[in-house]
């Protein structure tokens, strides 16, 4: 044998690869047939599994409902759904985004669900002209990157923070401890709340959300003698915090941002969660009776946080497809011009992709359930 296996194998692989190169650049669906909905898809992008999976599942359900309704109403145009499960990890997101971009059938994305992964991939979507409507990423900076494809179906934290602050003031709290979990979302929101509260705020550093023990925070809260506490962070840490504060004898009113608006907070906090006030730019799940009924009929449960926003986002894409848009550019153009009521709010976007004229809602925990009856703040 004269040539080694390595050389022969290499030669074979090279040859075949070159054939691949010649056969066309990347796998692309034929986007010729303009009228047919063949291969047209709306994608979900966010966490379905992993630690942050809950949130993504809520969103995916909103999307599923919207598409199911559309497909039922339009037998001649069946839209598909593609799910890109990033597990909320900015490390995994780029390879998924590239896959979505390479799939020419994907005309719009509901997501990315979190702010971190948004930062990692929105630039890609922008470059590829693939329009996105996020139903949940509320980081204020996201709309300031000049991404023309970026939209969100709810207001950002820069609206939520002042809203929460005014609620706290309205409740007559005079000494408010402001705490965060050092995460981008939590710290960002806490900073806005603290600024808005002015000298009523007592800064209380950060806590480590992964830690089990918050006794140092409890001690500090007791020591500071606060009558209210705002925590910027997510529900798991909030639950532990609420419980330990109550056990430690701190009875200050608790305020949170939308990251805590999840039944996981009630599960983690138990009785200590009762009476907490949670702000969110998302609408209460029962704000639209038709949507509520349809959702309950399909999934046999109440919609959860961001479910309605996801439904709205999907509706916009579906409307674009309905209007005959079969490529990303025309879908994007359609969104830019869109102005119609959704189930949560009037859907119309400004230049930066922020939804126009939104509101902040206050929720509370009552009898072990999320209660939206506090309604709009302001």
């Amino acid at each position: 044998m004269k040539k080694s296996r390595i050389a022969r194998a290499s030669a074979l692989i090279i040859g075949l690869s070159l054939v691949g190169v010649a056969c066309g650049s990347d796998d692309s669906a034929s986007d010729g047939a303009a009228a047919s909905c063949e291969g047209v898809k709306i994608a979900f992008f966010g966490a379905l599994t992993g630690e942050a999976g809950n949130l993504g599942v809520n969103i995916k359900k909103g999307l599923d409902l919207a598409v199911a309704e559309f497909n039922e109403a339009n037998a001649d145009c069946q839209v598909g759904i593609e799910a890109y499960d990033s597990q909320g990890d900015p490390d995994q997101a780029p390879a998924l985004a590239d896959k979505a971009i390479a799939d020419a059938g994907v005309l719009g994305i509901v997501g990315p669900a979190f702010s971190g992964e948004s930062k990692a991939v929105n630039g890609k979507f922008d470059e590829a002209g693939l329009p996105i409507i996020t139903p949940s990423a509320t980081n204020a900076d996201l709309s300031k990157n000049g991404w023309k494809i970026f939209h969100r179906a709810l207001a950002g934290d820069d609206k939520q923070g002042p809203g929460l602050a005014s609620k706290i003031t309205a409740d007559g709290k005079m000494k408010v401890g402001v705490l965060d979990d050092a995460s981008e979302y939590g710290k960002g929101l806490a900073d806005i709340v603290q600024t808005s509260l002015g000298d009523k705020a007592v800064e209380m550093n950060s806590l480590d959300p992964e830690s089990a023990d918050y006794s140092a925070v409890v001690t500090a809260a007791k020591d500071a003698g606060i009558d209210a506490l705002f925590f910027g962070g997510y529900y798991a840490a909030a639950g532990k915090l609420a419980k330990q504060l109550r056990d430690g004898g701190v009875d200050a009113q608790l305020y949170f941002g939308d990251g805590v608006l999840d039944k996981g907070y009630i599960e983690a906090g138990g009785p200590a969660a009762e009476g907490s006030i949670i702000g969110c730019t998302c609408a209460p799940f029962d704000s639209n009776a038709t949507f509520l009924a349809a959702f309950q009929a399909k999934f046999n449960e109440d919609p959860a946080t961001y479910g309605a926003e996801a439904y709205d986002a999907a509706t916009v894409f579906l409307a674009a497809i309905k209007s005959g848009a079969r490529d990303r550019a025309s879908v994007l153009a359609f969104i830019k011009a869109y102005d119609a009521p959704g189930v949560t709010k009037q859907l119309k976007w400004d230049e930066t992709g922020e939804v126009v004229g939104t509101a902040v809602y206050a929720y509370t925990i009552k009898d072990g359930k999320i209660d939206g009856s506090l309604g709009l703040i302001k």
């Binding site: 690869s17 590239d98 971190g116 050092a182």
Partner: protein, 361 residues
């Protein structure tokens, strides 16, 4: 599995067989073989299009060429670097992600956060800074032995991540966006969408690192490292400045880790502390040991496996990590020295041994 294990052993001996034949070939034949193999690697983004092999290597659900760069190249680079520390010098480092983070952050800080140097200028700075950090961390800690070193390095990895997360100067938890990209060379455009140029760049970096590390391994330095790993006291009594060489191993490992971080930052353009969790250190270590600690080929194979397998089996969804854990146990039970165990080199760097036989185990 014992049969499987036998199969693998036979595959390995086949390899040796090939190597023997390889050595018997003429220079021209060997050179052309190398060129072909390298070319095939550069064409890797198109492998999924090859019938058969394509099905095997393709990553359903994610873009193959992105995986090649963002996962495979990064893990291979990191495994190569960590292999110097763990495999050659025998220092257990559980905080290697720290150096990877330093490399990425230096590029982030210099090209976006506080300055706007071009990536190509920031890259060597990142490597040097990582190396310096390695020296700074190594100086006080390398006097510790074994498992004490492990826990201290683990602590360092955490300290770096927590600092990045809480220092506004480093972008805190917001991370750093708009990181500079490598300069485009002619038709090679380092843009946002096409991962292929990054892969080619990364692959070139891998070759460069392999070349450098090979030279080190086959020199006085490599011998000193191996001697330290085998018996540190005896090495020192044979005149090896153990502290200096351990520090060098740490620094070189750190530099390669930093290089990987810098390449990653240039590619993705956005980094945040979430990219550098403690668990990543453990994955890195798993890559090295899984492949075969102390063997460069092993480290590369381990890096590829740990990076590529989870993407290949993405349809396991949330069971991916579970399977990974089980696989680690199984591989260690049946191949405790890794998939490609370390070999004792028979030839000296200057003169090939007359018989050319390799001694395994």
């Amino acid at each position: 599995m014992s049969q499987l294990s036998n199969l693998w052993t036979r595959f390995l001996s086949l390899n040796t067989d090939v190597q023997v034949r390889w050595k018997s070939m003429s220079r021209v034949q060997r050179l052309s073989g190398y060129v072909l193999a390298v070319l095939a690697l550069y064409l890797a983004p198109w492998w999924p299009k090859i019938p058969g092999i394509g099905w095997l290597v393709n990553t359903p659900g994610t873009q193959f060429s992105t995986v090649l760069n963002d996962q495979v190249i990064i893990f291979v680079l990191v495994a190569l670097g960590l292999n110097v520390v763990v495999g050659l010098a025998g220092l257990l480092d559980l905080g290697y992600v720290g150096f990877y983070a330093v490399g990425a952050y230096v590029v982030g800080v210099l090209t976006s956060q506080h300055a706007s140097l071009p990536w190509i200028v920031a890259l060597p700075i990142a490597v040097v800074v990582s190396m310096l950090v390695g020296v700074i961390l190594g100086t006080p800690t390398l006097r510790l032995r074994g498992d004490y070193l492990a826990i201290v390095t683990l602590g360092f990895g955490e300290i770096i991540r927590i600092s990045a997360k809480n220092l506004d100067w480093l972008g805190a938890s917001r991370g750093i966006s708009d990181i500079g990209k490598p300069p485009s060379i002619g038709p090679l455009k380092f843009g946002v969408l096409d991962p292929k140029p990054y892969y080619w760049l990364g692959l070139t970096l891998v070759f460069l690192v392999v070349f450098c590390l090979y030279r080190l391994e086959e020199s006085r330095v490599g011998r000193a490292w191996t001697a330290i790993r085998e018996d540190e006291d005896a090495a020192e009594l044979m005149g090896v400045n153990t502290f200096k060489f351990k520090l060098w191993a740490f620094a070189i490992g750190a530099a390669v880790g930093g290089l990987a971080g810098a390449h990653y930052a240039g590619k993705v353009g956005f980094i945040s502390p979430d990219n550098f969790p403690l668990q990543l250190s453990i994955l890195f270590l798993a890559a090295v040991v899984l492949g075969g600690s102390g063997n460069m080929a092993g480290a590369i194979l381990g890096g590829i496996m740990v990076a590529w397998l989870p993407e290949r089996f993405r349809n396991f969804t949330d069971k991916r990590v579970l399977v990974f854990g089980i696989a680690l146990v199984l591989v260690m039970v049946f191949r405790p020295e890794g998939l490609l165990p370390r070999r004792v080199r028979t030839k000296s760097p200057m003169k090939p041994a007359s018989d050319g036989q390799e001694v395994t185990q």
